[in-house]
């Protein structure tokens, strides 16, 4: 190999690796925690591309990872907007990573579902329950209550998201806790339940486990109604959603504008859009409960479980949940893991 050959090789590899340096300049924005398969963010991002001409790549972080990334990048943020489970709103505000922005219909949002100073607001909410792949149960009865999950017949079949970093994981602990008689201050019933659940060898993923329910790996997942409905109506899977008989909680999902983000104008336009009629209808189509209930048509309503079932579900107090979330994670870590 002489000098010319070497230079040719080096030149070739350099040339092949350089093209990507020049990037197309389109209007874009970055969203943290906009997973394409969750709440049909994929469809929403496409809609944003069509209606607003803003290109937003999907992002698969969960609430905890998104907050951690925002804090780590505080000096020079990468993201423009972020989507969280409700209890992360107060936390994100306290961490100083959000900046106030009140979209047009902000004041129409119920006061328990928005930050009083405009740092974050609810766009839709869902109900926690049991997302079941009935075929993967192989003949076992579909569980109807939280306590049913402790039945040894479901050994190895139950999953729940990690309370240490996923919003729905923390919601699971508090939902069980409140359903079994606990309070936001007294976490004993909930923690004890999960400790007892260990005997049934649960699987504890960190990120969404939708695929694993469909594939039968996790036949019973503590998850939201919208994921179960999507499995049943979009992916035609043998999925059922159960609202446990002891009761459960509903979690609002919120969005906020990232402080000192690179594209704040695009970020604001997107936040306006997710609260617009068209945006809210999209959430309804994705089996979410839009924060403006009027956007829900009768046709959409027909796909949910009957209202009588939903009477057992209460909206969770996100401020109290935010205050309790450190304790939940700590106790879970110490007593259950």
């Amino acid at each position: 190999m002489d000098r010319r050959e070497l230079l040719a090789v080096l030149g070739a590899t350099a040339a092949l690796s350089l093209p990507g340096l020049a990037q197309a300049q389109t209007a874009r924005a970055i969203c943290y925690n906009c997973p394409p398969e969750w709440a049909d963010w994929g469809g929403m991002l496409r809609l944003i591309g069509q209606r607003l001409n803003i290109s937003v790549p999907p992002d698969n972080k969960n609430s905890g990872q998104a907050l951690a990334a925002l804090i780590a990048e505080r000096a020079n943020p990468v993201a423009d907007i972020a989507y969280f489970g409700g209890q992360f709103g107060p936390k994100a505000r306290a961490a100083g990573v959000l900046t106030p922005y009140r979209p047009v219909r902000f004041n129409d949002i119920p006061s328990g579902m928005r930050d009083p100073d405009g740092y974050w607001f609810t766009i839709h909410y869902g109900t926690l329950g049991l997302f079941v792949n009935t075929a993967a149960l192989r003949g076992r009865p579909v569980p109807q209550s939280w306590r049913d999950l402790l039945n040894p017949v479901y050994r190895g079949m139950i999953g729940y998201l990690n309370p240490a970093s996923a919003a729905v994981g923390q919601l699971g602990v508090i939902a069980v806790n409140l359903a079994l008689g606990g309070t936001f201050e007294n976490l004993d019933p909930g923690i004890n339940f999960f400790r007892q659940l260990r005997a049934n060898q649960p699987i504890v993923p960190i990120q969404t486990a939708y695929a694993r329910v469909l594939s039968g790996e996790i036949p019973i997942l503590l998850d939201f109604d919208f994921n179960a409905y999507r499995a049943r109506f979009r992916d035609n899977a043998p999925a059922a959603f159960v609202i446990p008989s002891e009761g459960t909680q509903q979690l609002p999902y919120i969005m906020g504008l990232v402080a000192r983000g690179p594209n704040p104008d695009q970020g604001r336009r997107i936040l306006d859009f997710v609260l617009s009629d068209e945006g809210q209808r999209h959430w309804g189509n994705a089996f979410m409960r839009p924060v403006f209930a009027a956007a829900l048509t009768a046709e959409m309503r027909a796909r949910f479980l009957p209202e009588a079932e939903y009477a057992r579900a209460r909206p969770v107090d996100v401020f109290r949940l935010a205050a309790a979330s450190a304790a939940i994670a700590e106790r879970y870590r110490r007593e259950v893991v």
Binding site: M1, D2, R3, L6, L10, T13, A14, L16, S17, P19, G20, I30, C31, Y32, P35, P36, E37, W38, P57, P58, D59, N60, A72, E73, A75, N76, V78, N133, A135, A136, P205, Q207, T208, A209, Y210, A211, R212, L214, S215, G216, E217, D235, A237, P262
Partner: protein, 267 residues
Amino acid sequence: MRKRGLAYWFLLALTLLVSAFLIVPVGMSILAGLTVNYFIGVESGLTLQWLAQVWSDHRHTVFLSLKIALACLFCTLLIGVPTAYVLARRQNAFTRALEELLVMPVAIPGLATALALIVMYGGMGDFRRSWSFILVGHVLFTLPFMVRSVLAVLSSIDLKTFEEGARSLGASFTQRFFGIVLPNCRSGILAGSLMVVTLSLGEFNMTLLLHTPLTPTLPVGLADAYASLRMEVGSAYTLVFFIIIIPLLVVMQWAAAPARIGTGQSR
């Protein structure tokens, strides 16, 4: 001339079992990526729809991974080959310390290296958001493999004699480097190159923290697919990964083999 005793058959069985352990899941995964419905199994039929879906939704991750791997190769060649040469020429406390230092990114968990880069350079917005941020991590991790590969070859030949001979005939340093050193470590460069590209394509630990939604690589996209999409899509995505990586591994095997015979040095 050893008779084929019991030990032979036992070891053959063990070898076949281990090979099956490693390969059967690969086959199952490939099949899952081509099946209509994973839960039902092969009875549901075979299809290319998942591959098509992966290609249309995720091919940007494939191109980015390939781009980073090639850039990584370029950098490790530029940085690593001269380093290996110096390490072969001189063996003292300083060069030993340097070797230890080079190995450190392999010893320290990828998460830590990524965290370190983020706390140091996370504030530089453009650098943080570009794919070169990921490239830096990959070069740190793959450099010792290139250096070790070239150094192994250089250590096994009598470099000093060749160079002294050439120098006594009046050759300058650059003439010696390009005319003697490089041709002689060709096999090391080739083996090292394949190793670097392969490792870069599969790197996940560091890339998970270093990437942004604008710069997802194949392994990161793959992890996302397993989490949130159907198993069939994840498997099809893995199949795409296999299609890229398996030819590289085969070439790596074939290229390393002739080097083993004769010089007796390892890969």
